[in-house]
Amino acid sequence: MAQHRSRRVRLRVFTPDGHGGRRLTNGAFVLLLIGLLGIGLGLVLVLSTQIQQQQAELEELQDQAEQASYHEAALQGEVNELSTTNSLARMAAALGMVPNTNPLIIQMPDGTSHGTPAAMDGTEMPGVVPAESAAANPSANSSSAGQPAEAAEPPLPDEQDQAGQGDDEAQGTDPGAVQSSQAGG
């Protein structure tokens, strides 16, 4: 205890002289503050510029995504239009196809067939073939489809049979499913 006391550092009066070396001069302090402020401001500037830039980038990308979605919607609209029954019927009629009300049905997976397919003459379902293509049809029919069809009339059921089977093989992944061939004669 006594030793401690003797070793105790003596207090002395601290005279702020401004030149102690451990303190900054006024000018340096101000410079330091200005420096810190400058760095801070600089960082904020960089940060906000970056945010602004990213925001701009984001907006542009969103814009692009939107444009792409508009384009997709327009293309989807075309697909919808082309895949409607109305347009398919028109296209089928232009090819000379008619509804088949008497198809051959093949039962999967054993492949037994039901029904007696017969060539359709197009009058079985009056009005179902669109009028505009029916009007355009006779010329196409007589020139290309009409003549060979006459010659090929007897083998037609056979062809249809094969077509029906081919169709079923392609889709016959679902066992037990009943497939019907709607191919026009």
């Binding site: 919607a73 029954t85 019927a89 198809p103 007696t116 009005g127 179902v128 073939v129």
Partner: protein, 610 residues
Amino acid sequence: MRLGSTTFRLRASMIVLVLILCLLAGRAFQLQGLDSAANAQAAAEKMTHTRTIKATRGSILDRNGEVLATTQPAVKVIADPASISVNGYNADNLTDQQAADLADRTPHQIAEVLVNFLGGATTDYLPALKRTTTGDGSVNQYEVLKEDVVADTYEQLRQALDEVTDVLGNKGLYGITSEDDPIRVYPSGTLASNIVGFVNSEGTGAGGFEYYADEQLAGTDGYEQYESGQYGRIPLADNTLKDATDGTTYTLTIDSELQYSAQQLIASEAAKYNALSASTVIMNVKTGEILTLATTPGYDANDPGAADPDDLGNRAISEAYEPGSVAKVFTNAALFDQGLADPDTKVEVPASIASGDGQIRDSNRHADTKYYTARGVFYHSSNIGSALLLRQMDTATYQQYMTDFGFGSASGIELPGEAEGYLPDATMADYTQDNMAFGQGFSTNVVQMAAALASVTNGGVYHRPTVVASATDATGAAVSLPERTSRRVISEQASAEVRDIMEAVTAGGTGQENRMISGYRMGGKSGTAQMIDQETGQYDAHRYMSSYVTVAPIEDPQILVYTVLEVQDQYGGTVAMPTSRMLMSMALPRYGVLPSAEVPIDTEPLEYEP
């Protein structure tokens, strides 16, 4: 105290500071204390902007996913003529010559680009583009150039405008903007338009299913609230986003291809027989699902305004009529179920019978007494025989059967404007029951009729008819639909007996081959009912509702086709039968219904020896 003394300077600064602080505090008090709410609101309003995020209306699909109605992004193209006249430059920085050149040339340049993408001629757009002042002399910054422009087309238009060099040699033309304005598209147009319906110019359902399910289809709009200043949106500022909830997408039970065939066929048959209107319905008798509901005349859903307003509804639902002889199916169904008759019950049919103040006669007049079985009464469609058979049943029991079959109340099909029809109450007069035995004295719509016919032929269970197969919300999750009720109305045995007599109509007797489809056993019944003249309230002797129902395969019915035509002096067996038969011949293989192994010749007795 010297002027230059430190003390003086300190005090002076203090006083100045206090004054400034007082001023600031006063202002702060004024802003925050006196009228804070209004001030804060005014500030927020100045910075905060709200943008509505429109919900996308749900699509309507057919049972195989074919799109019947969908919404496409589209815009209104807007011009700002004031900006166009200077092409976006600050007018103060332009020389008079430049300003004059710009005002003269820019509208033309823009009009040329517009023509390329929006069609029309430059003269269609120039007047609007040059209208820099409105009628009252103020600056005009808003001219709608075109509506319903596909968004993709507009984007291309914008890019093209950016590529044009203006008269000052700079790239880009300014002053064309857009507003979102999605359009409803019906890719198939006329196909199933009487079911799908249409929307009005505000995009709200105005007809058919679009109207019936408008709320669910529409979804809920969202909004975005953000703060922005002079240079656009303020990053990291307050931003509230509430996404729109897109509408429900519905899959209908309608089969587009069958619907198409039915529409084409019914239109052609209606024209052939000079029918004023016609309807045909194809139903899955096991479920009550409507596969096809075609009416004529119809309309194009993309342009409902072009059609006769009378044709914008759905006659098969909105028009009630007396069904005529097809209703004899129900007379027999009730009798068979009560055990009061069977197909071989013997009926003595005189030339006429008295009923109330009048006489009942058969449409095929006969002077002698006929000896028919109940099957024969049905086959010959004898009014007298049917009335005589039904006289065994009291009116209350019969009325209950008819109520169970769905008459007198709306079927609940998911389409607007259903006519409930009329069914007399249980205390009806005996002559009313006599009339109802052959399809007069009560009224029904086509769908009610089809559902009732399905119930008595499918084994005796009534299924509420429906056009909705399923629904999914915007995330693709299934939306539960109201449960459909089913109820037994007659016994299996009675239903089998009904099918027995219906088969006799298509296959019994002689010379009925034209009613049949090779390879299938089928049942049918024709009906021809005089229509009531709306003006006189009397039956019109020449206007008929002629109908024919066919059910197949009769040993285990799957499909029912019921056709009604409004014609003059022509019978259901002649005008409606072909449509029903042809559609049946298309529907059976389409739904994988196999032909019967053998079709027996129907030799069940139609008459008996007294």
